[in-house]
Amino acid sequence: MFGMYMSKKAGKDQKKERRSPSADKHVNEQMKDYEHQPVVPVLTELLDKIKKEMGESSDLIIRGLDLTDRQGKDGDKDIALVYIQGLIEDERLDKFVIQTIQQDPELPSQLKQLKEQVRQTNADSPEEPVLSRIKSHLIAIGLICEIRTFKDLFEKLFLGYALVFIEGSPSGIGCNVYGGPKRSVEEPKTEMMIRGPREGFTESLRVNTILLRRKIRSPKLWMEQMKVGEITQTPVAIMYIKGLADESVIEDLKRRIKDIKNDGILESSYIEEMITDQKWTPFPTIISHERPDVIASNLLDGRVAIIVDGTPFVLVVPSTLNMFFQAAEDYYQNYQMATFLRMLRFSSFFIALLMPSIYVAIIGYHQEMIPTQLLLKLAAQREGVPFPAYLEAFIMELVFEILREAVLRMPSTAGSAISIVGGLVIGQSIVEAGIVSSAVVIVVAFTAISSFVAPIYSLGIAARLLRFLLLIAASTLGFYGIALVMLLILLHMSNLTSFGIPYLKPFAPFNWKDFKDTLLRVPLWMMKERPQQIGDRDQVRDNSAAEPRREPSQ
């Protein structure tokens, strides 16, 4: 709560300071300056400069073509190809660029003419026939561009372009022959489901946008691309459906992304952390998904997707708490089952949040609230346990978190060792030795299982942290403390927004129309309208008749 206060006040002061000194230096040395450095028409000079700027990096490949046969003069070439080894597809470069240039019969004579011209006029010729001939007749590549400054040059070079420079020409040509190693489309690892598409996003931005294009075949699926990260120059794309998405959200989002001035974006969580409305909350206010079908359905709701190159996790804004309880499979199976699972998820979130603290509160303060038989069972288990209940719960929660972290971080070959040590040694022998009571182990285990039910991992993280806060409250104040902290959490959550949309919508502010997709998942033929405040511009989503099923006529 103080966080928000602070962030509001601090925002203005800190904006100027945000850029790190090293990034500053780097940018000044590199991209900013390059903008005003035109490509030199003298090939040797140009290539020397590229080599110098890149510190003679060995993966920089410069291939010179001596088409006019001026043998003898070392390094004096007519055409030079510049690219980064491994970033391009060699076969395409060979076949559709080098081969065609080499085999063109008219090119040598044109090159000679050009050279004469340059020598005579001693100036650049803007209407340059060789360049346009290579561009229009020789390069058999779909995506090409003109390189005029060093900024263009380096940008395209690292995007996987092969650059063609001609002696005497003031600009070069970039041909997209992007290639190199990349992961193929696989089943997503984090969002498993039984029914539904098996494809997941990959690390490649282009593949990801294609996966979305394949889902939504509409000219209104718009995409805007920008580069974020002063050094990494990571491509970031935002996609939305024009006419559905809120223009002000798009504007706001673009501005926030442009304001990011850090060294590098290595994962979409960098973006997430930089553009969230509230910086000091344990709750995730931007959701990330690994499945194209989920992102597509969010786009159809009028939300905006942020795709970052180098990660399969795509962000969606604005996000509400409710979205963290929705799994794609809810829509792929029977709505009764989906509704049941929704309620199960909500309740297991509360179990994950509250169960240890309720246990501690009951054992420590409110023994009269449970049935006598249960009380006697618990009392019998507590017999001879050396620690008070709250300490016991703390220890076991901590042990569980350690176990969980250990299993996540260790090589998978050693995983079984951990589960034996963790499960048997800690789980069983600690109870048999009477160091902690088995009730606590049951509570912690059940809490752990419940916390895995959340379909989105980041929400589970919030519950994990708040659980400890609630434990402290329960061990000092009992149910009163739990109620206080829950009230604080509720206040905090109702203060949260995600790109202007209240985080708790449609619970608070209450919106009956949006309840169709919260605790309930009503049948699709009843979901006639897009979410309020998000897909408002075109409210009706489903125009099918109220009762689309008819008896077949005889």
Partner: protein, 420 residues
């Protein structure tokens, strides 16, 4: 180049000061909230002695008013999975005092665990103590927020309350549960007794003229043999707590015990009866047949008297659904409506007679355990005002009508009797 400020200067800006002020304010508010309740209330579960039953006797030495016995559960023995465990599931502590609380506090000299009364199930009062009045015993239970008022109350008949609490039982490892559950089983299957809670007694004590009735418990066998381990190792127990009949009170003082039939009649008239069986002799005098009353509902109404000088008439309507369960009458075959109607009529007559005898028994002793005063107060409040002061003398003169409506639902899987 701009001079970079050191970190502490940045932090110590005006914004930070305001923030710290606000933080401090909140911390103060929060720390004010904590002592409002707080850890003083913490009770460690393993440091509690859960009192499951209270027993009240007269002090034999006569120095104090009561001798209080508490039955404390030893959880490790009471709940162990291998049946009973090694030690006794409960232990008792006895102490004397003029009030209940005085005796309880004296017990702290003998207990390593703080006595905890929130789960107390049973209050046993010895008959001689009950004769002196049971209302003083209820005050602590009703007043104290930590003690529940749904404690079942019983009168120890013919045995000291302390002894009753020291009998080990085989069915339930905690003896107090045995007594409490037995009352409920009896109420559901026979209806000779019904469960009476502390809150019922406190309610009735302030009601219009109603007298309390409390179930009585005695022992079968030698009560002295009850407390050792050998008793639970036997197949035929040497001693068992056994339910007697309802004990009736006058102004909170024990007067006497209803006979079994009348005890059931009381349960029936108060609509506490859920299920019972009745025995009937056969028409030809050989053998019996048994009818089970499956569902029954009793409605009592006080009707406006015709004349000014007359008292209201109490009308009791009993609806029953029953079934024939056991027939040892030779040749009795229930396959026509006439026989069924005859059975129904017989049942009505027997129930009417039983309840009539109950009312008469109570009227003889001028004890309104039926709650009729309360009923007249509700139905005829104006008339009650005139009667209230003299209710004890008026009650035996009250006119009443008992009307039974029964319906035989089934006669079991066969119609003819096996008996020849």
């Amino acid at each position: 180049m701009k001079r970079r400020l050191p970190l502490w200067r940045k932090v110590w800006s005006g914004m930070a000061i305001r923030l710290i002020k606000r933080l401090a304010l909140t911390v103060i508010i929060a720390s004010v909230l904590i002592p409002l309740t707080g850890c003083w209330d913490i009770r460690y579960l393993d440091k509690l002695g859960v009192v499951i039953a209270l027993g009240v006797d007269d002090d034999p030495s006569g120095k104090f008013r009561y001798e209080l016995t508490v039955q404390v559960v030893l959880p490790q023995n009471a709940t162990s999975r291998d049946g009973g465990g090694n030690g006794s599931p409960v232990m008792t502590l006895t102490e004397k005092g003029d009030t209940v609380f005085e005796a309880i506090r004296k017990m702290s000299a003998k207990t390593s665990r703080r006595l905890f009364f929130s789960h107390t199930q049973l209050l046993v009062i010895h008959e001689s103590t009950a004769k002196k009045g049971i209302f003083p015993l209820m005050d602590l239970i009703d007043r104290n927020a930590d003690i529940r008022t749904d404690i079942s109350v019983v009168i120890a008949r013919g045995v000291k309350a302390a002894k009753l609490l020291q009998i080990r039982t085989q069915m339930e490892s905690v003896p107090a549960n045995q007594i409490k559950e037995t009352i409920l089983v009896d109420q559901n299957a026979k209806g000779q007794l019904y469960s009476v809670l502390v809150r019922d007694i406190t309610r009735i004590s302030k009601s219009e003229g109603q007298q309390i009735a409390v179930p009585a418990v005695g022992v079968e066998g030698d009560p002295e043999a009850g407390s050792t381990k050998e008793i639970v190792d036997r197949i035929n127990p040497k001693v068992l707590p056994e339910l007697k009949t309802m004990a009736v009170f006058d102004g909170g003082r024990l007067i006497g015990y209803l006979p079994p039939k009348q005890s059931q009649g009381l349960t029936w008239s108060l609509n506490k009866l859920q299920n019972t069986v009745l025995k009937f002799p056969c028409a030809n005098g050989k053998g019996h047949y048994i009818m089970e009353v499956i569902r029954t509902d009793t409605k009592v109404k006080a009707e406006k008297p015709k004349g000014e000088s007359e008292w209201p008439t109490v009308k009791m309507e009993i609806r029953m659904q029953s079934s024939v369960h056991e027939v040892t009458c030779p040749g009795l075959s229930i396959n026509d409506e006439q026989t069924l109607l005859a059975l129904e009529e017989k049942l009505n007559a027997v129930v009417e007679k039983e309840i009539k005898s109950t009312v008469d028994w109570l009227m003889d002793r001028k004890l309104d355990a039926l709650g009729w005063g309360e009923q007249i107060y509700r139905d005829q409040p104006a008339r009650w005002k005139q009667m209230k002061a003299r209710w004890k003398t008026i009650f035996p003169q009250i006119q009443y009508e008992i009307h039974c409506i029964s319906h035989v639902e089934s006669m079991g899987a066969r119609t003819d009797a096996i008996t020849e």
